[in-house]
Amino acid sequence: MEKRLKVIEKDDVVVRFSGDSGDGMQLTGTLFSTTSALFGHDISTFPDYPSEIRAPQGTVGGVSGFQVHIGHKQVNTPGDYADVLVAMNPAAVRANARYLAKGSTIIYDSDSFTEKQILRAGYKSDPFIEDKLDGMHLIAAPITTLVKEVLKDTELDPKSILRTKNMFALGMVYWLFDSKLKYTEDFIEEKFGKKPLMAEANSKVLRAGYYYAETIQAIAPSYRVSPANIEKGTYRNINGNQATSWGLLAAAEKAGLKLFIGSYPITPATGILEELALRKDLGAKSLQAEDEIAGICSAIGASFAGSLAVTSTSGPGFALKSEALNLAVMTELPLVVINVQRGGPSTGLPTKTEQADLWQALYGRNGESPVVVMAAGTPSDCFHYAFRAAKIAIEYMTPVVLLTDSYLANGSEPWKIPSMSDMPSIKVPWAEKTETEYLPYERDPVKHSRKWAVPGMAGLEHRIGGLEKTIRGSVSYTPENHEYMVKIRNEKVEAVVAEVPDLKVTGADNGDLLVIGWGSSHGHVVTAVTELQEEGYNVSAVNFNYIRPLPKNTAQVFEGFKKLVVCELNLGQFANYLRIKHQKFTYHQYNKVQGLPFTVKEIKEYCIKLLEEK
């Protein structure tokens, strides 16, 4: 599933405020633009009023919009398509539906989506379905109700109260973009200087919107890639969590197994459990467990009973699963553990992205505890890597940890829909009743995997568990047996290298600098390097999706370059892992730990600096 995409990262974003003429959208847009400009962004704006001064309320004609294009780099246009749309009513949706970028975010006042208003906007049913926007990132907020509630103790008249709705929406957008409220508050102060009631009301509502977005953990997808050489085919939008879930469903279907997921909700991983809970139509069984430990343990139970078992979580929950993950290591049962990384440590920054759980995935358990570790690179390839993770787990009878992150989980992109008949087959290593006794830990000579006998199969009854044991499954404290088992479990995971495709280099095989990324660094690393190449630099890039084991040709690729730099959103975990696995190379590090993805610009700047140093 290698797609050749020219990955373009937009260091810029287009926001459109849209509502009825009376909704104060122009003001909102202006305030947002100015705040952005003050923050140092380049901006370009485009206000568009309805042609009539007072168009019929609630109709498409009455919609007033204000579009802002903000960017790190020079911004030359107000943008063609909006990435974020604020829609105060159904008409605003209708008016803008075709000007939305793929995978954009729509914040809307759900209170205004009454049947009457919907009809008035010209819809017959659900606007989002009618306009095929249900693949977008929809954030419904009952803005009218909330504004009334915030101001319930004020002496303002109802009309003035409703006039502050735009501030609520603006507050939410500010939260999405981590903006400061200061400029807008000062503006309000000044504008309503003589009407303290109004000033206070507007400020209050602005902050209420901001906090509301925080409280509901509103997250805007921040990842966008556009295919360059677009292949023929049927496309859809897909986000990382959905792609992960579907990849697992695909693997279950291919393997002929039932899919089981046992999870506990946690941002930003909840979407996987939510998606699979929907998929009862395809026979997926989901358990919302009482906690993360129960989540993984139920999955281990389901695996013992013959399901394709999955547990999904994020950093803190992954920490809680460590003890039980070792039970899967010891019992050598197939298990897919998905960790959607977020900012840490501890509760950290729950809605932000980071790549700092790599150590935990590799080494965060007691004893010698080898597991396969993989990382997806883009929202849509979560499908591919989830499928592969399941295939390896089953065929090698091993737990596999798949790392994604907040950035992938919430990001969406157009995706060429694969056909199930093109997907590789998955061979389940079923045990069979034979003349000789079933030995639970007898191994395949190449893969070192054991055979899978599940309850219900007559004559294969056996007992396993977390104590060290012999080939027969009986408990053993024998020194030599323990050493043998520790080593063979390790070798089994190393043997997975047979499934790992060689690293593909973006650019020449030799050069001055190799930029190394892993997982979701993909887009930024490849884009930065492609741009550098276009600018004449002797630079190439690789991005790792298989971490343990590493691709066979890793050292060989590294050898082609004078310098190596590892880019990751942590303090250098993958770089250190490479120091262990390929000690002979010198690794530079480019790290960022801000809860944000890289920008292309900063990677390029760092690379140029590194190339200039001698």
């Binding site: 677009i230 496309y235 279907e253 389901a302 056996h462 007992r463 568990g465």
Partner: protein, 341 residues
């Protein structure tokens, strides 16, 4: 679980003995529990490969090794979610969970109450020796207040859980109590447990001869046991005592022990046990009875047939699969908004 049909599998208890040697201390109550379970399984008409014995960690949790069925020796406290996963994955299996007072109620307390709440069809046999046996004698959440153990050298300062109250407080539909070496009662209780559909909790009064010997003496020794226990059977009056001259009645909103012939009480005043009453109030009180004020209730105290989690999930699957247009992953991938390039 599998429905009991005609008796096709002519098992004897020995068929359920695994080839592993039983390693419990001589005299440990666990031997009695194992023997009784093997006997009961042999009497049921279920093929051996449909049983799964799941456990956590503890002396009690070693039982699956000795049972010639599928078995999973889990990690400490987590038998319930493991069993839950097994049952959901394959509702045709009969899933038994072997656990101790530490395993189920200390580290595993949360999973215990959630399994009960969900009413998933798992048979939980809780070996209550009021001590941590395997780790050599620390107090457990059921140790009597004041007990001197290695971690309470001056006596514990906390009230124990009463397993029955906790179970019913967590919406338990089945609660029973038996005694390790009372094989007759145990057989009866385990059999009812096997046939029950839903989360069943059986507290087994179990003696740890090494670290808490005699903890249950008052209710197990021949001298005192008949006066200190009340065996409940559905539909039978709550009469007990060596001379069967005592009973339980309700007075001033509370249960009360009465002696026939004293203060004008007769057998007529005695309550009749209704294990199938959905309202948990009376079962809660019966399960909570303890010495010295009350005898300890044995037998099946509560047994309410309710929709189980596994049944409800199956029903939901059937309903949704019938209604849905998506029958394959290919169809799923093409559902919703797509476009051609």
């Amino acid at each position: 679980m599998t429905e009991t049909t005609t008796h096709e599998n002519h098992y004897v208890a020995k068929d359920f003995k695994s080839d592993q040697e039983v390693r419990w201390c001589p005299g440990c109550g666990d031997h009695g529990i194992l023997a009784s379970l093997q006997k009961v399984l042999a009497e049921l008409d279920i093929p051996k490969e449909k049983y799964v014995f799941v456990s956590g960690i503890g002396c009690s949790s070693r039982l699956p090794y000795y049972m010639n069925t599928y078995g999973f020796h889990g990690i400490h406290g987590r038998a319930a979610p493991i069993a839950t996963g097994i049952k959901i994955a394959n509702p045709d299996l009969m899933v038994w969970m072997m656990t101790g007072d530490g395993d189920a109620l200390a580290i595993g307390g949360n999973h215990f109450i959630h399994a009960i709440r969900r009413n998933i069809d798992i048979k939980i046999i809780l070996f209550n020796n009021e001590i941590y046996g395997l780790t050599k004698g620390q107090y457990s959440p059921t140790s009597k207040k004041g007990l001197v153990t290695k971690t309470s050298p001056y006596g514990t300062i906390e009230e124990p859980f009463r397993i029955g109250e906790l179970t019913i407080g967590a919406s338990g539909r089945f609660f029973a109590r038996t005694v390790d070496y009372n094989l007759q009662l145990s057989n009866e209780v385990y059999k009812e447990t096997a046939l029950f559909n839903g989360t069943a909790v059986v507290e087994v009064i179990q003696n740890c001869v090494i670290f808490n010997d005699g903890a249950h003496d008052l209710i197990t020794n021949k001298e005192t046991r008949d006066d200190n226990t009340l065996v409940l059977r559905h539909g039978e009056p709550m009469i007990f005592g060596k001379n069967r001259d005592k009973g339980i009645t309700l007075e001033n909103l509370k249960l009360k022990v009465i002696k026939f012939g004293e203060n004008g009480y007769t057998e007529k005043d005695v309550l009749v046990h209704d294990a199938h009453e959905p309202n948990p109030g009376i079962h809660y009180r019966l399960a909570g009875m303890h010495l010295p004020e009350y005898p300890v209730a044995l037998g099946v105290i509560r047994s309410i047939r309710d929709h189980t989690y596994d049944e409800a999930m199956r029903d939901q699957h059937v309903r949704i699969q019938e209604a849905s247009k998506i029958k394959s992953v290919d169809e799923l991938l093409h559902s919703g908004a797509t476009w051609k390039k």
